[in-house]
C-alpha cells in the first residue's frame, strides 16, 4: 500500500518535471523559461521526495526519510532564491524581453537600473 501510494506521488512529480523542462525548451525568452522551469521543477522534485519518503516507509528507514525532508526544505528555500537572483542578474546583464511582452514593471519602478547594453 505504502509502495503504491509512493509510486503515484513519484509519477506525479515526474510529470511536473517533464512539463517544466518542456517549458524551458519551448518558451520564447529567458524570463518565461525561468519561471516555467523553476516553479515546475522545484515542486515536482518536492513531490518526488515526498513519494520516496512514503514508499520507503517512514519507520523502517528513518535515515532516508530525514534526508529527504532536509533536502526538500533546502530545495524549497534555495531554488526560488537562485531564480530571483538569476532574473536580477539577467536584467542587469541586458537580456531583452520577448518582443510581444506587454509590461515591464521593473523598468517602470527602477528606470535607473536599466541595462547599459543589450544582448540579443
Amino acid at each position: 500500500m505504502n509502495s503504491v501510494m509512493g509510486m503515484i506521488c513519484v509519477a506525479i512529480g515526474l510529470v511536473f518535471n517533464v512539463l517544466g523542462c518542456i517549458g524551458m525548451i519551448r518558451l520564447p525568452d529567458m524570463y518565461n523559461r525561468l519561471q516555467a522551469s523553476t516553479k515546475c521543477v522545484t515542486m515536482g522534485t518536492s513531490m518526488v521526495l515526498i513519494g520516496v519518503m512514503i514508499a520507503s516507509g517512514f519507520a523502517h528507514s528513518a535515515q532516508l526519510s530525514v534526508r529527504c525532508i532536509i533536502c526538500m526544505a533546502f530545495i524549497l528555500i534555495a531554488a526560488p532564491t537562485a531564480a530571483h537572483a538569476l532574473a536580477h542578474g539577467a536584467y542587469s546583464f541586458g537580456v531583452r524581453l520577448w518582443e510581444k511582452s506587454i509590461v515591464n514593471r521593473y523598468e517602470e519602478d527602477f528606470p535607473q537600473k536599466a541595462p547599459k547594453q543589450e544582448h540579443e
Binding site: 513519484v10 515526474l14 518542456i22 528507514s61 532516508l64 530545495i75 537562485a82 538569476l86 542578474g89 539577467a90
Partner: protein, 86 residues
C-alpha cells in the same frame, strides 16, 4: 519496470537541460539550465536511494543541491557585475 521508466524520463529532462545549455542564446539561459539540471539530479539520487535502499545516495543529492545553489548565486552576481558582498 517503474524505475526504468522513471530513469528514462529523468534522462529526458537532463537532455532537455543540456540542450538549453548548448543552444541558449545568452549566458543567463545557460546558468538557468545548469540550475535546473542540479534539481533534476537531486530527483535522480532520490530514486536511486529508494531502489537500492542505501540512504547515502540522498547525501549526494543534498550536497549537489547546495553546490548548485552556490554556483547559481555566484553566476548571477557575476552577470550583474557585482561581488559577493554587495
Amino acid at each position: 519496470m517503474f524505475f526504468i521508466l522513471a530513469y528514462v524520463v529523468l534522462l529526458a529532462c537532463c537532455g532537455m537541460c543540456l540542450y538549453r545549455v548548448g543552444r541558449g542564446p545568452t549566458a543567463p539561459d545557460r546558468a538557468m539550465a545548469i540550475d535546473i539540471l542540479g534539481v533534476v539530479v537531486v530527483c535522480f539520487t532520490a530514486l536511486l536511494a529508494l531502489k537500492t535502499g542505501e540512504a547515502f545516495y540522498m547525501d549526494i543529492g543534498i550536497a549537489w543541491a547546495i553546490l548548485s545553489f552556490i554556483g547559481t548565486i555566484a553566476l548571477a552576481k557575476h552577470l550583474e557585475g557585482r561581488g559577493f558582498d554587495e
